[in-house]
């Protein structure tokens, strides 16, 4: 009986989206994606899809090699992406001013520490801020991973998918709060753009992709 009930409830879950209003399936977490204060879903399958960068948004996109870069971090050390080959890399685009970026930061720091033993490298790129703003930011945040300064935004612009968010005039800003997971061969396995209506501050999607990248190699 318990088994039948389980099957039935699974059927209900399958049927719900089909019965949704005018094809706009009300996903269980969708209406309250921003509203659930206490019990945020931790299973990626229960989260609405985020904005994934696939081929139709132009390059770079999931499946392509990540553009290489050579930038300097908050300690003055040079970080070249291609030199991180062999490690799974989480690449996050951040700025000091963006509240979405700020809200995700503690979770990124926690993720970096939790996955360090598995050889995961977390790297952030600060998008086009002045030397002063960058210095204040890294001093304030004390992030436990390299934060790279991209003063003119040239690297950020190379990561901006050609057709992503065409309404945003300052193109390099399109990738602010984007997260990428790059596999050991330097290929982009996961790449999201900011989705304010379904904001994933806890980086559940990123962690899910990270697990897949670690298993896939």
């Amino acid at each position: 009986m318990a088994k039948i009930n389980r099957h039935f409830s699974r059927l209900l879950v399958t049927a719900l989206p089909l019965l949704g209003c005018a094809g706009q399936s009300p996903r269980p977490s969708d209406p309250v994606a921003q509203a659930a204060p206490a019990s945020a879903p931790s299973d990626p399958a229960t989260l609405p899809p985020s904005v994934l960068v696939t081929g139709e948004l132009g390059s770079p996109h999931i499946g392509e090699l990540a553009p290489d870069f050579d930038l300097v971090d908050q300690a003055g050390a040079r970080v070249r992406l291609s030199e991180l080959r062999g490690s799974v890399v989480v690449l996050a685009f951040v700025t000091s001013f963006c509240p979405f970026s700020a809200a995700a930061q503690p979770h990124l720091a926690e993720l970096a520490q939790r996955y360090a033993a598995q050889g995961v490298r977390v790297v952030a790129v600060d998008v086009a801020e002045s030397d002063q703003a960058f210095d204040e930011y890294v001093a304030r945040m004390k992030l436990p991973f390299p934060v790279l300064h991209d003063p003119d935004g040239a690297v950020s612009l190379r990561f901006t998918p050609t057709h992503a968010n065409p309404g945003v005039k300052d193109r390099k800003q399109v990738v602010v709060t984007s997260n990428l997971v790059i596999d050991r061969e330097g290929r982009i396995q996961f790449f999201t753009l900011l989705d304010t209506a379904h904001f994933d501050a806890k980086l559940v999607h990123v962690e899910h992709a990270l697990e897949q990248a670690l298993q896939g190699a």
Partner: protein
């Protein structure tokens, strides 16, 4: 899963079906094209239907911006910041709304959230159109009063939860549309807001 729980699921499903059937002609605001950022009831007050919180802030061109002083006119209220790339892409279109809807007694009010006077004044000078009534919410206190408590729960600074939000407020001060930013369907031209504004102002005659 117990039978009771299964029965509960059935009841929930039935309720959902019934509500769909009843509202098929009128979808929830957030399911309509371009309005995906609409506040949801679960986020808390203020919601459409409520009187917008009043405020009085220094206006950029002198005097003050007081919401209640604009009663009798429709108001499009938008929250902005010079650093916000989405806001920056939209700002020129606010001037067009002000000009295009002036004959329908629409005023466009723009509030800058938590920036220094120097930063905002220099930006506003070159970006805010003449037809837009702008002011500065220096400490974010007004913005925080507009922020539904469960919108963007990850934000410590509540004022930032309404950054880039757009409201339509009717001549009696009541909120008729309240959109939070929806970057996944970003439209700097406010096409959906204009359509709502056109519909609402036409209805009111």
């Amino acid at each position: 899963m117990s039978l009771a729980k299964t029965a509960q699921s059935c009841a929930a499903l039935l309720a959902l079906c019934t509500s769909c059937a009843g509202t098929a002609a009128q979808l929830p605001v957030w399911q309509r094209p371009g309005l995906g950022g609409a506040v949801r009831p679960e986020m808390g007050a203020p919601q459409p239907g409520a009187i917008a919180p009043d405020f009085s802030l220094p206006a950029d061109r002198g005097g003050s911006v007081r919401l209640s002083a604009l009663r009798g006119d429709w108001v499009v209220l938008h929250f902005t910041a010079s650093w916000c790339p989405y806001c920056d892409s939209e700002i020129e279109h606010l001037g067009q709304i002000a000009d295009g809807f002036a004959a329908r007694h629409v005023r466009v009010v723009l509030l800058d959230v938590e920036e220094s006077e120097a930063v905002w004044a220099s930006y506003a000078h070159s970006h805010v159109a003449q037809g837009v009534l702008s002011g500065r919410d220096a400490a974010g206190k007004v913005a925080a009063r507009f922020a539904p408590p469960h919108a963007q729960p990850a934000f410590d600074d509540r004022a930032q939860a309404v950054l880039d939000a757009t409201l339509i407020i009717d001549p009696r001060g009541k909120i008729r549309l309240f959109l939070l930013p929806d970057t996944a369907h970003f439209d700097p031209t406010f096409k959906a807001v204009r359509a709502e504004l056109g519909r609402l102002t036409a209805e009111s005659g």
